[in-house]
């Protein structure tokens, strides 16, 4: 387990709405586009790896891959 996985995210949160979250094809795409391993694809759809969230580099490739408005990247430090 890497140090980042040892604890929940401090800085970044990601919300992904249904039905996009349960789409296995989208899950594969998200796993592919995210270079820091925040998404894991399974038959059930997309799993967001909590321990990896703080590694998000804010590239928004995942947001672009999703249907408009289905995904939101939340910067916790802006709240």
């Amino acid at each position: 387990m890497s140090p980042a996985e040892a604890m929940d995210a401090v800085f970044i949160d990601i919300e992904l709405d249904e039905p996009a979250k349960s789409d296995p094809e989208l899950a594969k795409k998200l796993e592919e586009v995210c270079t820091v391993g925040i998404f894991k694809a399974s038959a059930a759809g997309t799993e967001i790896v909590q321990g990896q969230l703080d590694e998000c580099v804010l590239c928004y490739l995942c947001v672009d891959a999703c249907p408009t408005g289905a995904m939101r990247i939340i910067k916790k430090y802006e709240n």
């Binding site: 140090p3 980042a4 604890m7 703080d54 430090y77």
Partner: protein, 404 residues
């Protein structure tokens, strides 16, 4: 890369410099045979990469092969300064008329090899240079042009050596200079270079050190001639737990680079620093303004949050560390917000308040505005490029001095 004495002897021999008959042995039996072949009294020397052999009992004299075997058996079990010997060197006890000193060292200021010769060998050359400067000859050689014997002769003649001694010592110093250049050495030393009672000159002891960066291109001598394995790095420095942990964190993640050293540092201000020579400048700036660094570090190349966090945590966990200073020169290939996340996360995971723990954050560069938002959120004091490295270091020192 440093060499054992028996390897240095071999390097000297390969360069055509006369040496006495010697044997490298790893058992008492081998030492007995070597002493028999040499004939007469011998010296048995521990092969360790550390000084103080004589004092520790790692050098013994033997009159017979049996005695040589007994000494070898004892020496092979003898630990010296934490080092176990890789073997023993069996040497004849030479009949010496006079001891000389010959070496070639890299002169970092002149950026050229420097030949040194003295007619007062067997003792530290620094001591001779200080007490008898007229007995030390010096001369630079070119990095490119062939080394001429006349150049060596001038250096030796400067010490007052003349006649047959001058003629016999000249090719030895010239060959030493050539081997220095051909093998990318930073030190090639023969001490003592002995004039025996029959008038001949032999290298009795040699020390060699090769430039680390050249190890890859010196495979012929290292692997073929000396049989040194690729994984044998000769690193005699024992890293601290802090250094080992930082290295492990760095190795576990390919993104960015972190390094941590704490050799000689035991202060209360932890340093998470880097960028284009920034680490050295910042460490000096902290020290010169009365600060006490707890460590030295380097961070850059766009590390992950985990890596920045890992380094900051290791620094914070060091005994006596009260605060950390996170400072860099201007960065273009390291994201400010990622480092900010890392160091703040380290504080939080250790149950510390980032605002209290981070004395100063000065990393101007890529994603600086995003970084500042994070720092603002946690109340961490930061500054931009209008504050010099010196002033940022001064602020950190003032803060920690005010706290204690």
């Amino acid at each position: 890369m440093i060499f054992y004495e028996y390897e240095a002897r071999k390097i000297v021999e390969l360069a055509g410099i006369p040496v006495t008959k010697y044997g490298f042995c790893q058992t008492a039996d081998e030492a007995r045979k070597a002493a028999e072949e040499i004939g007469g009294p011998t010296v048995i020397k521990s092969q360790v990469l550390t000084g103080g052999r004589m004092k520790a009992g790692g050098v013994q004299f033997a009159d017979t092969p049996d005695e040589a075997a007994k000494h070898a058996e004892d020496i092979l079990k003898l630990e010296i300064n934490g080092h176990m010997p890789v073997g023993v060197l069996v040497d004849p006890k030479a009949e010496i008329k006079q001891e000389y000193y010959a070496s070639v060292v890299w002169d970092g200021t002149a950026k050229k090899p420097l030949m040194l010769f003295s007619d007062m060998g067997g003792i530290d050359i620094e001591q001779v240079a200080e007490e008898h400067p007229d007995h030390v000859g010096r001369g630079h050689i070119s990095n490119i042009l062939p080394v001429g014997d006349y150049e060596a002769k001038q250096v030796i003649a400067a010490t007052g050596v003349t006649g047959s001694q001058l003629n016999r010592a000249t090719p030895i110093l010239a060959k030493l200079a050539r081997l220095f250049r051909e093998n990318d050495m930073i030190l090639a030393e023969i001490n003592p270079l002995a004039e025996l009672t029959d008038g001949s000159f032999v290298a009795l002891d040699a020390h060699m050190e090769m430039e680390e960066e050249a190890v890859g291109r010196q495979k012929n001598i290292l692997r073929k001639e000396l049989g040194i394995a690729e994984e044998d790095t000769r690193d005699t420095y024992v890293p601290s737990d802090f250094e080992k942990n930082v290295k492990a964190i760095d190795a576990a993640d390919h993104r960015g680079v972190i390094q941590g050293k704490d050799h000689g540092f035991d202060g209360n201000l932890g340093l998470v620093i880097g960028a284009g020579g920034g680490s050295l400048t910042l460490t000096d700036a902290v020290r010169n303004q009365g600060g006490k660094p707890a460590n030295y570090s380097e961070i850059g190349g766009n590390p992950s949050v985990a890596k920045a966090c890992g380094l900051a945590k290791e620094v914070l966990k060091k005994d006596g560390v009260e605060k950390i200073a996170v400072m860099m020169s201007i960065v273009s290939n390291t994201r400010v917000d990622i480092v900010a996340r890392g160091v703040i996360k380290a504080c939080l995971e250790l149950g510390k308040d980032p605002a209290e723990t981070i004395a100063i954050f000065r990393i101007p560069g890529a994603w600086e505005d995003e970084g500042n938002k994070i720092l603002d959120h946690y109340g961490v004091e930061y500054c931009d490029r209008s504050v010099s490295l010196w002033d940022a270091a001064g602020r950190a020192v003032a803060k920690i001095q005010g706290a204690s």
